[in-house]
């Protein structure tokens, strides 16, 4: 059996309690003995002490009563004595317990005896008896009295000895009790102490052992076990502690092991990491190197293949060159021979001209002039005319000679022309005057005629035209021996294909003869210098052989062309096509071309111009896609009148190709086209980044302006159209738009600086001082870009921006806006601005960024990049009266979406994150739908959607979730969060619009 600590403690305590009880009981016993003694004293002695005197007193009273009664002679008073006696008896009775019974009995007897006697004596005395007998009686009575008195004394006598004895007894008892108690207490104490000592010793020792053990454990001596003594709790604790220590020791060992392992692992990891790092570095290096090598390889490859290609090309080229060389040398030889002739001719001719011809010509001129003046008035008008003719011909001749002398100049391209308005009639009249007589002389008829649709006056160099015609008519007259020579001025035949000219503005000077004609093999060379229609055979006609060459060059110089349209044996027709208005710009270009004798050019057939009117290469202003030639002609005239160049395409495919290739400023588009219809052309134009930003105006007999505008056209005109409307369309499309910048700046000097800086970007800058002015200017002109100082005072900027955005939604013809400010706007302000424009903070230092912004923007425009996506297909979607909330932190999306939505008539609220969206919804519970981006800072779209859905009032609110995430499960997440639908980014405005549309129509039906 185990003696547990508890049991021991209980034992000690109970023993102690028992000892205590014993002590208490013992002392109680002792005390009770003493008390007994004392009680006895109290009960026996004290009444005796009290009753004694009373009995004595009563007896005295008795005696006195007798004496009084005797003295008073009152027999009745004797009765009193009885009472007194009874009292004494009662007292005796009372003190029965304390008095010695025998003594008290004796006392009573004595008392009674005394009383009897005293009573008797008293009565007798009262009765007056006397005598001996009396005396005897009295003596007896006195004896009885004395006896009673003695008896009383005996009874009441205080036994001091007894008392002392009693007290001694008590004291002794007390003493004895005390001693006993002491002994018992002592024994108990000893017992308890002994027991306690026995217990505690073991206990303390165990604890000490424990303590020591723990201390040792604490110090880590886990193997020094605590001795387990006994079978108590401490022993348990000790055993437990020992177990713990053992475990700890094991753990420690484990830990040690683990640590070691970890260390090792760490070490290894570190090594590995280092190795990895090294490897990584190496790898990266190798990668980069590889990359570089690849690059190099690629490059080398490319170079190699390029080389190979070049080589083969070169070989081919070499071959070709050889061929050409051979050809060339052949030609050279020929040329050399020719040249020899030419130079011979030239020098001879020049010599002739200068020395022999000039002199007689000079006098001839003078004389004929004199004659024509007819100073004496003796010549007939006919004669005067002849004289004039002679003079005129002379002048022409001189002119011709001078021209020839200037041949070098012509060929060097230094020929000058003087463009001015001249009357067609004047030109023709001069020719008629010169050649009518000559023709008449040869018996030829010579007709001149000017068609009705030829303008009275054209802008060109009249002298050169005269020179050309002189030459042509001269030749015609010269080489025609029979028949007629005709000079007609009219519009070009529709069948003729012109190379660079437009039919409507071209005049043809047609010289027809009925001469020998020119053999086809000569036609090529006829325009070459020193060639004549029929080789040596024609030489007899004389002439310089320069005429046609010069004429052709002159025609080119005047922006026209000279052609031979004839066949041999049927006479020849030379036609000189000239533009009504000779373009000055061509003057500087043409001479160089003229300088290169281009024999082949005559033969090269004019390029088949599918385009109705060709324009100079790179400056195509307008493209007309239209299959009706008549309408094309009308439009062409209008466009031409405005100095714009244009191209025509008769079908959609050609139109698309030309639009891509030429990037015109604007396109006029018909709907009914032979191949693909105008709608589809429009879509294709919008879909191609190269053409997406070109404004398109429909002009069509199909009456569907809505459809056209919805497709993104800038306008729609229905045929038949008034001329003034066409003019408006042409003018608006033809406006130069890429390079106009509008600066809205109230500070004049700042505006000036900006304008100067913008000038470096080669843009045309307009500076206005207020937003209102800006709107006015925008009405009249179109701008590519607009720079607005945010401190412009007169109109709330946002209002301006909103107006612009609304306009932008309706057409492309709205400038990009760059805002600049030196006051940093608040975050929300900035967000708002950004949904309309790009914003530049001007922190003193750099207008650079501002310029950058404009420059980059213009570049994008030039590259044909659309400024923003335009919804194309969502034609039928109407969102009027709908209030939509767009939640996205990406302002580009916000910009595009809000523009598209506003364009459809919706009211658009914008929130930059979920938290703001929730606030906005709170303030605008009437929102009809929410478009919510998923990835936003602060609160993302999932969370926001969830919170919106958690509100019962928005249970059925359509929420379209937008996300850039395209991975598996991403769509589901949106729907799970409570979105009604989901659209991937980049957002397709059309898809969104039709989605919203379907929500709303569904709603109405429901």
């Amino acid at each position: 059996m185990r003696l547990t600590l508890r049991a021991s403690l209980i034992a000690i305590v109970s023993i102690m309690a028992a000892a205590f009880l014993v002590v208490i009981v013992a002392s109680d016993l002792v005390t009770s003995r003493v008390r007994e003694r004392l009680v006895e004293i109290e009960q026996r002695q004290i009444p005796r002490l009290e009753l004694g005197p009373r009995i004595a007193a009563d007896f005295a009273e008795l005696t006195r009563t007798f004496q009084d009664a005797v003295a008073a002679q009152d027999a009745d008073a004797l009765e009193q004595t009885r009472r007194v006696r009874d009292r004494i008896v009662a007292r005796l009775e009372e003190g029965k317990a304390v008095f010695d019974p025998a003594a008290s009995e004796e006392l009573r007897v004595a008392l009674d005896a005394y009383h009897e006697l005293a009573l008797d004596v008293s009565r007798r005395m009262i009765a007056g008896e006397g005598g001996e007998e009396m005396i005897e009686r009295i003596t007896r009575m006195q004896e009885a009295q004395a006896r009673a008195q003695a008896q009383i004394d005996r009874v009441v006598a205080f036994d001091a000895r007894y008392l002392r004895g009693a007290f001694d007894d008590a004291r002794a008892a007390l003493l004895a009790g005390g001693r006993t108690r002491l002994v018992i207490t002592g024994t108990c104490l000893a017992l308890v102490l002994g027991l306690a000592i026995v217990f505690t010793r073991g206990f303390v020792r165990s604890i000490a052992a424990l303590h020591e053990g723990f201390a040792r454990f604490g110090k880590g001596e886990l193997d020094a076990l605590i001795p387990v003594r006994g079978n108590d709790e401490i022993a348990d604790v000790a055993a437990g502690a020992n177990q713990m220590a053992k475990n700890l020791a094991e753990l420690e060992a484990e830990r040690e092991r683990a640590a070691a392992e970890t260390r090792e692992l760490l070490e290894r990891t570190r090594e590995q990491a280092a190795r990895l790092q090294a490897q990584e570095e190496e790898l990266r290096a190798t990668n980069e190197e590889l990359q570089a090598q690849q690059e190099e390889l690629r490059l080398t490859n490319e170079e190699l293949s390029e080389h190979a290609r070049q080589l083969s090309e070169q070989r081919a080229e070499l071959e070709a060159k050889n061929e050409e060389l051979r050809e060339l040398s052949r030609r050279l030889e020929q040329k050399a021979a020719e040249l020899a002739t030419v130079s011979a001719f030239k020098s001879q001719f020049l010599a002739n001209m200068s020395h022999e011809l000039r002199t007689p010509l000079n006098s001839m001129l003078l004389l004929s002039q004199l004659l024509a003046d007819n100073p004496e008035g003796n010549l007939t008008p006919k004669q005067v005319e002849y004289a004039r003719t002679v003079n005129g011909a002379g002048k022409d001749l001189l002119f011709l000679i001078n021209q020839v002398l200037d041949l070098a100049k012509i060929e060097a391209g230094r020929q000058e022309i003087h463009v001015e308005p001249v009357r067609v009639e004047d030109i023709v009249e001069r020719i008629r005057r010169v050649f009518a007589p000559l023709a008449a002389e040869k018996g030829l008829s010579f007709d001149v005629g000017i068609a009705d649709d030829v303008p009275r006056s054209i802008t060109t160099d009249g002298q050169r035209v005269g020179q050309i015609l002189t030459n042509l008519v001269g030749n015609a007259v010269k080489f025609t021996s029979r028949g007629a020579v005709k000079l007609a001025v009219r519009r070009p035949d529709p069948s003729v294909e012109l190379r660079t000219l437009r039919r409507e503005t071209t005049i043809a000077f047609v010289v027809t003869d009925t001469g020998s004609g020119i053999a086809s093999e000569h036609r090529e060379r006829i325009f070459e210098p020193f060639e004549q229609g029929g080789e040596a055979g024609n030489r007899r006609h004389g002439g310089t052989g320069l005429g046609l060459a010069i004429s052709r060059e002159l025609a080119t110089l005047l922006g026209g062309e000279l052609r031979l349209e004839s066949t041999a044996a049927e006479g020849s027709t030379f036609v000189c096509y000239l533009p009504e208005r000779c373009e000055r710009t061509e003057k500087t270009e043409e001479p160089r071309r003229a300088a290169t004798p281009a024999p082949k050019r005559a033969a090269t057939p004019a390029p088949v111009a599918r385009d109705g009117g060709a324009a100079p290469d790179d400056a195509t202003h307008l493209l007309v896609i239209e299959d009706d030639p008549l309408f094309l002609e009308v439009l062409g005239r209008i466009i031409g009148e405005r100095g714009l160049s244009w191209l025509a395409a008769r079908d959609g495919a050609t139109g698309l190709r030309l639009a891509r290739e030429r990037r015109p400023r604007g396109i006029i588009l018909d709907v009914e086209l032979p191949d693909i219809d105008g709608w589809r052309v429009m879509e294709a134009l919008r879909a191609d980044p190269a053409t997406a930003s070109i404004p398109v105006h429909f002009v069509s007999a199909t009456d569907a302006p809505d459809r056209g505008l919805a497709l993104g056209a800038v306008g729609y005109l229905t045929k038949p159209a008034a001329k003034k409307d066409l003019v408006r369309v042409v003018e608006s499309l033809g406006r130069q738009r890429a390079h106009r910048v509008l600066v809205v700046e109230s500070d004049a000097s700042r505006g000036q600086t900006l304008a100067e800086q913008l000038a470096t970007l080669e843009v045309e800058t307009t500076v206005v001082k207020s937003a209102r002015e800006a709107l006015d200017v925008l009405e009249k002109k179109s701008f590519a870009c607009m720079i607005v100082d945010l401190s412009v005072p007169d109109i709330e900027e946002l209002e301006l921006l909103e107006i612009l955005q609304r306009r932008a939604a309706a057409s492309q013809d709205t400038p990009a806006v760059v805002l600049y400010t030196d006051r940093p706007p608040s975050r929300s302000e900035a967000m708002r601005f950004e949904s309309y424009a790009s914003v530049v903070l001007d922190e003193g230092a750099s207008t650079d960024r501002l310029l950058d912004e404009v420059r980059l923007f213009l570049r994008r425009l030039e590259a044909g990049m659309p400024r923003r996506p335009t919804p194309n297909q969502s034609v039928g979607v109407r969102l009027e009266g709908k209030k939509l909330l767009v939640v996205d932190d990406d302002m580009r999306t916000v910009y595009a979406l809000s523009a598209a939505l506003r364009a459809k008539g919706a009211e658009v609220l914008v929130a930059e994150n979920g938290a703001v969206a929730l606030e906005m919804l709170d303030a605008n519970p009437d929102v009809d739908a929410v478009v919510m981006d998923v990835m936003m800072p602060e609160m993302d779209g999932y969370e926001a959607t969830r919170r919106i859905r958690a509100q019962p009032r928005f249970e059925r609110l359509p929420i379209v979730s937008l996300t850039a995430k395209a991975m598996k499960g991403d769509a589901e997440r949106s729907i799970e969060a409570g979105a009604s639908a989901y659209l991937p980014k980049p957002i397709d405005a059309d898809a969104l619009l039709s989605l919203l549309h379907s929500f709303f129509t569904g709603e109405e039906k429901a």
Binding site: L283, L290, E834, F857, M967, K968
Partner: protein
């Protein structure tokens, strides 16, 4: 490598990547082949599985196994103020232009464990631009993102952090941006507040916003040429005209069509400007 001498292992790797794509949507097929090959083999070794076939089976059936693999095949080394010279250039050359934007959006594509984003944040704080900035930090790896969001790094990183920071021209006291506790450093709230971490796969996901700066450092090196071009296209789409693209120190753009739309801005530090 021609088809004929493609090793069996290479075929297995290819199949594995194919499987991952079909099953989980992550597309590693166009990553740089040799690097991917090594990563997959390393993952195989770490998984203790006998061969790639087994690994493929696991990855197809067990999401956790896939996560582990994903963890293994992405390389996520990063460091605070990694390449101090780069940050110096950013500070000296790019920041002055950034000041002209009232709102700044910066995208840290492939942010790994977040150091780069926090670095950018600290730099912007130092330049007084952080209040108007929003940093979007994205990565493919969820685990990396978890760590990034915590913003807690071992204290042993601190010395390098300090020297790099000083090397970048940093002026502020780092102690004001990080809390050093126990053996870790933790980014403080004012550094973390304008960074938004989220999952985004450069390969499959779309562009999500118009940024002023895109950091895509040491990410493109893991991509094959074609993929690189595709991703660069996305980066271009998410930059505003005139925005900046920052690449890793050893990365340079070539002269493909996309690449040419980025003009070297600080060429030796691989900072480009998007000028479409």
């Amino acid at each position: 490598m021609s088809d004929s001498d493609e090793s069996v292992e290479a075929i297995e790797v290819r199949l594995l990547l194919e499987a991952i794509h079909a099953r989980w949507g992550y597309d590693f097929r166009d990553y740089a082949a040799s690097s991917m090959h090594r990563r997959v083999l390393a993952a195989l070794a770490a998984s203790g599985l006998p061969h790639l076939g087994e690994l493929q089976h696991r990855v197809l059936h067990d999401r956790a196994a896939f996560s582990d693999l994903l963890d293994r095949i992405t390389v996520r080394v990063s460091e605070m103020f990694r390449d101090p010279a780069f940050y110096r250039a950013l500070r000296d050359r790019v920041v002055p232009l950034l000041r002209t934007y009232p709102i700044l959006r910066l995208w840290n594509a492939g942010c790994a464990t977040g150091q780069e984003a926090y670095t950018t944040a600290i730099l912007l704080i130092e330049e007084g631009l952080y209040e108007r900035s929003q940093i979007y930090a994205t990565d493919l790896s969820q685990r990396a993102l978890e760590q990034a969001k915590e913003g807690v790094y071992p204290a042993s990183d601190l010395p390098a952090f300090r020297t790099n920071h000083a090397g970048s021209g940093g002026t502020s006291d780092l102690a004001s941006h990080v809390t050093v506790a126990y053996d870790h450093i933790a980014m403080r709230e004012h550094v973390r507040k304008n960074i938004h971490f989220f999952h985004h796969d450069l390969v499959s996901d779309h562009v999500f916003g118009e940024m002023h700066v895109v950091f895509c450092r040491n990410v493109l090196i893991y991509f094959g040429r074609k993929l690189r071009g595709r991703v660069l296209e996305k980066l271009a789409q998410s930059l505003c005209p005139g925005g900046f693209l920052c690449l890793g120190d050893s990365e340079r753009l070539g002269d493909s069509d996309v690449e040419r739309r980025f003009k070297p801005f600080v060429a030796e530090r691989a900072i480009y400007r998007y000028e479409p």
